[in-house]
Symmetry: C2
Subunit: 338 residues, 2 copies
């Protein structure tokens, strides 16, 4: 990347006027999508430095950070939202920023929302949640070189700043604990294969089993929705396995599945924690009040919120953050169910 | 109120210059607290019309709505936050507004946050949650005539716009249902007497009992924190009453207390829904998965969020909302626990 690339060179390569390049890169006007794409591509090819863009933008800062979250289904609760929002709001305020929440939509429509917030100068950066593979928001913001931090990461070839909770480590801890307790036949109630977060957590299961030379039967991995009903059905399927295959412990990728699994055990006159050990993931506030209380994995959500804002503000200032990728360790909470 | 009051008259009465009055009322500068108080008092006394202020402010609108919520304790979950924020964010966007969340603090410190957001021109109005008696935010915003809507109301003599869920009606429905089922000895696990929301809900209990000529024993009203542990202890106290006083049904002012009460029953080898009926309040997403599933009261949160924004935007536009006080009916959800 050459530090001496000028807007004129970008304009020449993009085949548009200097004024258009200047206005688009400084977010003063909104050009057609095609023109913007040409300008960003030219800026990219010539190595027009993003901190020049950052420096220009600084002149008209909004001191706002865009954030959008996916709504949970009505029978579930987003138990981390309160903590995550509160810690971001507090950390942002300490840096003289405010959060700007906006509605979550799917796919390209949602990218339009990001585009409009940038072009209208409403925000200086974004925190992204619910990132999945090939997330169009990520490619759009990277191409546009607009400051953002992911709460969660994505395809390894996309190198952007993120803060994440190490889901593999969480499930690894759970499986290791069960192995230590003498369990060998450990099953997993998991999510569909297109779930990035689900695959990461499952990697922790497989690693821990392999490290202990505990063979994994294909029937032990039950994949489906992360809800109560699938947890219940999957647990029945696992209990129905012939005696020598029947698991003595089950890890679930979230607490809702674990609660479904505990119900299935009760329907079979089995006791969680006595007949079959159950471990969830999330430490939803109600899980401590279940009978038996649910063993689960707690994520450091407040810290994650603070780190997201800290890194984002550094990027908005046009500086390089000390840590571009922050992976936080979750904590295994042992209660009666395992 | 006279429509012809001028800024000059306000300035004369307040004993400050015309410029100061103009700048303060138009939020162009921040004067000392004492000066501002004098100006607002003078504007009030002379009947300087709030829609003049609104009209002036319209010139420099931020299109932002301030909102701040009280964090729940770590062992509980704010299960309405997601729904309430989402519906406000969506409704605001439809009216070209955005939400501006800011940290919740207690008492006068929190009023300072409101003051600063107004004086810096960051917001055009507020939605207030967790309103209690003598809330200093309410008196400050009323005195300053700054647009706001309460999600919840307060002392009856304070006449401001609000949207609320009719908690008395909710508990009334629950007690009526229990009376219909033949219960006469119905107890209530309630909150401390300084809780406005708690007192409202308890009014519904007393009304329903009186309407059915069912006498209320003082021992049946157990007041304490709205948490699991108090629900558990209060239920033990109620079960310990001598046989002819022992309640056959208990209404709780929230689900967490109800879950504590269900634990207490289990500790006594009693079954909720069979030996003693239990009804909660909130319909927290996990309560349907309890054994037995909890009967509870569901609040129309999405509608409440939409109504708050609708009324607030009307106020910001300097118009009178059609409904100044919206009281929404909650819904009794009957499951196995009652």
């Amino acid at each position: 990347m050459s530090p001496s690339v000028t807007l004129k060179e970008v304009a020449a390569l993009a085949g548009v006027s200097y004024q258009t390049v200047s206005k688009v890169l400084n977010r003063k006007v909104q050009a057609s999508k095609e023109t913007e794409a040409r300008i960003f591509q030219a800026a990219e090819e010539l190595g027009y430095r993003p901190n020049q863009i950052a420096r220009n933008m600084r002149l008209q800062r909004s001191y706002m950070i865009g954030y959008s979250w996916e709504r949970t289904s009505p029978d579930q609760v987003n138990h981390i939202l309160d903590q995550f929002l509160t810690s971001m709001v507090e950390e942002a305020q300490a840096a003289s920023f405010h959060l700007l929440p906006f509605p979550f939509r799917q796919g390209e429509e949602h990218v339009e929302d990001y585009r409009e917030l940038i072009n209208s100068g409403r925000v200086d950066g974004f925190v992204l949640s619910s990132i999945n593979y090939n997330d169009p928001r990520v490619s759009y913001l990277m191409e546009r070189r607009f400051p953002f931090v992911g709460f969660g990461h994505s395809d390894p070839e996309l190198d952007f700043c993120y803060v994440d909770v190490d889901g593999a480590d969480g499930i690894h801890q759970a499986v290791e604990y069960l192995l230590d307790k003498g369990h060998r036949r450990i099953a997993a109630i998991a999510w569909p294969k297109d779930s990035r977060v689900g695959n990461e957590r499952m990697a922790g299961y497989l690693e821990a089993m392999q490290a202990a030379h505990a063979p994994v039967q294909p029937q032990w991995i039950q994949r489906g929705q992360g809800d109560f009903e699938f947890g219940r059905i999957a647990c029945h399927t696992l209990v129905d396995l012939e005696t020598e295959l029947r698991p003595t412990a089950i890890v679930c990728l979230n607490d809702t599945q674990a609660i479904g699994a505990m119900h299935a055990l009760r329907e079979r006159q089995l006791q969680a924690g006595k007949d079959i050990a159950i471990i969830g993931f999330d430490d939803a506030p109600m899980t401590q009040f279940l009978l038996p209380a649910l063993s689960t994995i707690r994520q450091p959500i407040r810290l994650a919120g603070r780190k997201c804002i800290e890194i984002l503000v550094t990027l908005i200032d046009g500086n390089l953050p000390e840590e571009r990728h922050v992976l936080l360790k979750p904590k295994l909470i042992i209660r009666a169910s395992a």
